[in-house]
């Protein structure tokens, strides 16, 4: 909350270059030694409409977008300026200015494009600016951009002004521009940048204290989004086949994979629908290629069928579910954690799948790799859950974090030599689905291998794959398949570092529990609560299935009360926890939000303080406290 951090918000219309500008600026801040975090807010529209990106930069590790911000660069919506469309766009034109003011901190800076925006149109602007001690700079960025380049370079002019006002060097920004473009385009942008920088320094007096904080990384950093983390994790897990259908926010992962798989000698397929997409992943995996698919809620709903087929035929696949707010098409560009139950249980029959929900881009990389490893070792579908927040947010991660060899092991596949020795049934088929195994895994063959013929079928089947309804066989096959989750849980507990993240003093009195993308925000809240003398710790859960029973039991036994923080209306993770553990109902309250925006740290702090003080209503608007089972 203090100003030892810069939270820079660039606001304008979709299509005005907000995304690319902010990514470059975030990288420049990162390369100057700071830790960064970006947060993207956009409407379900191609062009025009109010959008913003926030970059939080500080010396310390940064885990969430924080609360509010202290620098607004309001570009205006160039698409709203089409006079023919006035009736439709209405007030869109000035939204980039006035829609952002509520969250601008006291003493903050406003730079607005006076070529596009007029403060006379913003209700009570001058009064509010005075009250809040905002430093307002009206600069005609449009003219500046036109003079040396093109009008669209208003964003570059805005960055030049920002750098001058914050007393930044231009070096890193110039380097990034040189990486991204060339020729006349580069020259024009550099001219606009320098012109804006010099003009601001010459013509304006600065009374504000805000400067770019300083920081120093021990090692080289890269700026990674949740989608990048997933995609790079998949590539490093040896995935060479993806099939998908575009849907926000899953499309980011799909696009990154499609752009890179050919370079890695792999195949990407954009297909007719999500049923086909997941079925293609099954087909490619059946033939021996590490493969994946994915979607967002609505598309994932269609994947239930092939997902169940993968479970029954024991075909390894990895699916990515990038959640957005539902039901149905819901809020297409807003985050929610409302698909958990559908991810855990969709498709007919008993669920037999691995489900992870990473918390940040680095975890997304790690857990996607782990999802592939487990899927192929255990011949089971694995699902990685991200959401609209995580998919689009960028964080800096040490480059060395990704310095791990590609995992090309296709898992439990037999060689032809092994197949020649393996058991076959009277019909001549390889006994691919044997009843007795150590860890539930019956090794498989691949089509085209000698001595490996078998039938894969979505019906219940015997050892050789023939359809079989015999009750004893049914029980043996079901039990073996279901036992994989037990083996996987044991492997995760014993052989790997915990995928759950802990924060706060071990002997804390209270607990905060969260899962997936809200972890960073909750951890920041934990830090603030401890600074204010509240004894609290948190667990950020990533393992949804198999559930981390041991870790959760230990955590819940160690605290008086715990609050589960999640972005949905029906407390889905709390339901899962109570189902899995069968106890602690009286200890658990829920803090829920489902308005299309992720939690902010201070919201969690306020709700938690209210809860331990016995309040039964949320102190924060548009959120809800759901009391403990015994209350």
């Amino acid at each position: 909350m203090t100003d030892d951090e810069l939270i820079w918000r660039i606001a304008g219309g979709s299509g005005d270059g907000i995304d690319s500008t902010s990514q470059n600026f975030a990288k420049a801040l990162m390369r100057s030694g700071l830790n960064v975090f970006t947060h993207r807010h956009y409407p379900s529209r191609i062009r025009g409409g109010h959008t913003y990106v926030e970059i939080r930069a500080r010396e310390d590790t940064v885990k969430s977008r924080g609360d509010g911000y202290n620098f607004l660069l309001a570009l205006g919506d160039s698409f709203a300026r089409n006079p023919k469309e006035n009736a439709y766009y209405g007030e869109e034109e000035i939204k980039p200015l006035y829609e952002n003011l509520d969250e601008l901190r006291e003493g903050g800076i406003i730079v607005y494009d006076s070529g596009m925006l007029d403060t006379d149109d913003v209700p009570n602007f001058d009064e509010r600016a005075e009250e809040n001690n905002w430093h307002v700079f009206d600069i005609n960025l449009r003219e500046l951009a036109k003079e040396h380049g093109r009008e669209i370079m208003r964003n570059t002019a805005g960055v030049g002004v920002t750098a001058a006002l914050l007393d930044m060097e231009l070096g890193e920004i110039e380097n990034l521009m040189e990486d991204a473009m060339g020729g006349d385009m580069l020259e024009a942008n550099l001219n606009v940048l320098h012109d804006a920088y010099e003009m601001t320094n010459e013509e304006y007096e600065f009374e504000h204290d805000l400067r770019v904080p300083t920081g120093d990384h021990d090692e080289e950093q890269v700026l990674v989004s949740g989608s990048n983390g997933v995609a790079y994790g998949a590539l490093d897990a040896g995935c060479r086949f993806i099939a998908g259908y575009p849907m926000t926010p899953w499309t980011d992962v799909f696009a990154i994979m499609s752009q890179n798989l050919p370079k890695f000698g792999g195949i990407s397929e954009q297909v007719e629908d999500e049923i086909a997409a997941a079925a293609l992943a099954v087909g490619a995996s059946h033939a021996g290629v590490k493969s994946m698919s994915g979607s967002s809620g609505g598309g994932f709903a269609l994947m239930g069928e092939p997902l169940g087929l993968a479970e029954m035929t024991e075909t390894p696949i990895v699916l990515i579910e990038a959640m957005r707010a539902g039901p149905s098409t819901g809020l297409p560009t807003k985050p929610e954690q409302g698909d958990l139950e559908s991810i855990l249980y969709s498709s007919q029959g008993d669920s037999n799948r691995v489900v992870f929900a990473p918390a940040d881009p680095a975890e997304a990389y790690d857990q996607t790799r782990m999802a592939f490893k487990l899927a192929y070792d255990y011949q089971i579908p694995a699902i990685v859950i991200i959401d609209q927040k995580l998919s689009g947010e960028n964080r800096n991660v040490p480059k060395s974090f990704f310095d791990r060899p590609v995992d090309a092991d296709p898992g439990s596949v037999l060689t032809e030599e092994e197949l020649a020795e393996a058991a076959h049934d009277e019909s001549g088929k390889f006994n691919r689905f044997i009843h007795e195994t150590e860890n539930g895994v019956a090794p498989r063959s691949l089509p085209g291998q000698k001595d490996g013929r078998y039938l894969a079928t979505g019906n219940e089947h015997n050892k050789a794959g023939h359809i079989d309804e015999d009750p004893d066989n049914r029980v043996a096959q079901m039990s073996r398949r279901m036992s994989k989750l037990v083996s996987i849980r044991e492997e995760l507990d014993e052989e790997h570092e915990s995928q759950q993240s802990y924060r706060g003093p071990e002997d804390a009195e209270y607990g905060l529990i969260t899962w997936g993308s809200q972890q960073g925000t909750v951890e920041e809240a934990v830090d603030r609560l401890n600074e204010r003398g509240v004894s609290v710790k948190s667990i950020g859960v990533s393992d949804m299935m198999p559930y981390p029973e041991q870790e959760m039991t230990e955590f819940l036994e160690s605290v008086e009360e715990a609050m589960i923080v999640e972005m949905n209306a029906t407390a889905q993770f709390r339901g899962l926890t109570q189902k899995e553990l069968g106890q602690f109902g009286e200890k658990l309250t829920s803090f829920l939000k489902y308005d299309g925006n992720p939690f902010e740290p201070e919201e969690v702090v306020e709700a938690f303080e209210a809860q331990i003080n016995g309040a039964d209503e949320s102190p924060v608007t548009r959120t809800e406290i759901r009391p403990a089972a015994g209350d």
Binding site: D19, N228, I267, A287, G288, P447, D451, L455
Partner: protein, 313 residues
């Protein structure tokens, strides 16, 4: 050393190799046309020279889906309507495989209609056999997409108000590069057409008329049939889309009137398969992907690049 030594193996293949050592008792009804497809495939595959182990047969759900149990190749009995997406991905993953998909008319033209259209459009190098008996068999006699208008069943008690699908025309329009119709009652033609279809480099669609003696007693039993290539009454250029289209239209109208026209309707040998198209744009590796996981010499790490991490879409 290859992990897939069965692929491309050249040897004499006995049709009995395709029969499981202990043949499961077929659950098809006596007189079912599906036996005709099984028999034709057992004859066609050795003639093409593909061994059971390099053949992957993907089926849908229904009576046709049981084909896998009676033909001893690698098999994937998928789910209703989904044989094509599974099959075409397997072919992309390992182009050395002989991939054949099979399903019924409900499976292929109803629930899987979208996949049919798009697989044909992309011209995947594979064969698709649709067991067309104009009825849902295994679910006990409901009206299917190919059932004639007015067809009565328990789920369409007043008779269907829908005109039937035109599978041949749909296939051609969608982009299949080989389209034929044969019938279980015509085993010699059926075998010849399957040989051609399997050897064809592109999407080969065979609408295989299979009589259903149990649920479709009123339906024509597809006799007498006419082989359009043998008959002097039908003269058209099977490589010409327009002429093929007219011939298909005639055949589809005739079927509703009780005249069974069978044979090759459209063959395009020039159109590159989907894999070739993908290779041409640099999105399809030269070597089968599935082999790579067993290639000890392949350097996985050499291809790694950190560019991706710092680039954003």
């Amino acid at each position: 050393m290859s992990a897939f030594n069965a692929i491309g193996e050249e040897r004499d293949i006995d049709r009995d190799e395709y029969t499981p050592g202990i043949e499961p008792q077929p659950t098809w009804c006596p007189g079912c046309g599906d036996f005709g497809v099984l028999k034709a495939l057992k004859q066609a595959l050795p003639e093409v020279g593909r061994t059971p182990e390099e053949t992957l047969l993907c089926t849908g759900i229904g009576c046709s889906g049981k084909l896998n149990s009676y033909l001893d190749t690698y098999g994937f009995h998928t789910i209703h309507g989904r044989s094509l997406p599974v099959a075409r991905a397997a072919k992309l993953a390992n182009p050395g495989l002989e991939v054949i998909a099979a399903g019924g008319d409900g499976d292929g033209y109803g629930i899987g209609g979208n996949h049919f259209m798009h697989t044909a459009r992309e011209n995947h190098d594979m064969t698709y056999i649709v067991f067309n008996n104009e009825i849902f068999g295994l679910t006990k006699g409901q009206t299917s997409p190919t059932s004639p208008k007015g067809h009565k069943s328990k789920t369409q008690p007043s008779g269907s108000a829908k005109t039937p699908i035109r599978p041949l025309s749909l296939s051609l329009t969608s982009g299949a590069s080989y389209v034929a119709r044969t019938a279980a009652v015509n085993p010699n033609q059926a075998k010849e057409i399957l040989v051609e279809a399997i050897e064809h480099d592109g999407f080969a669609h065979v609408d295989f008329l299979t009589q259903c003696p149990t649920w479709n007693k009123d339906a024509k039993q597809y006799v007498p049939y006419v082989d359009i290539q043998d008959s002097d009454d039908y003269d058209f250029d099977i490589t010409d889309r327009r002429e093929a289209s007219e011939m298909m239209y005639e055949a589809e109208d005739a079927l509703h009137e009780g005249e069974v026209l069978t044979g090759r309707f459209y063959v395009d040998e020039d159109r590159p398969s989907y894999q070739e198209e993908k290779k041409a744009i640099g999105e399809m590796p030269e070597e089968p992907l599935a082999e790579r996981y067993f290639d000890d010499d392949y350097d996985w790490d050499q291809k790694r690049s950190y560019d991706l991490l710092d680039r954003h879409v």
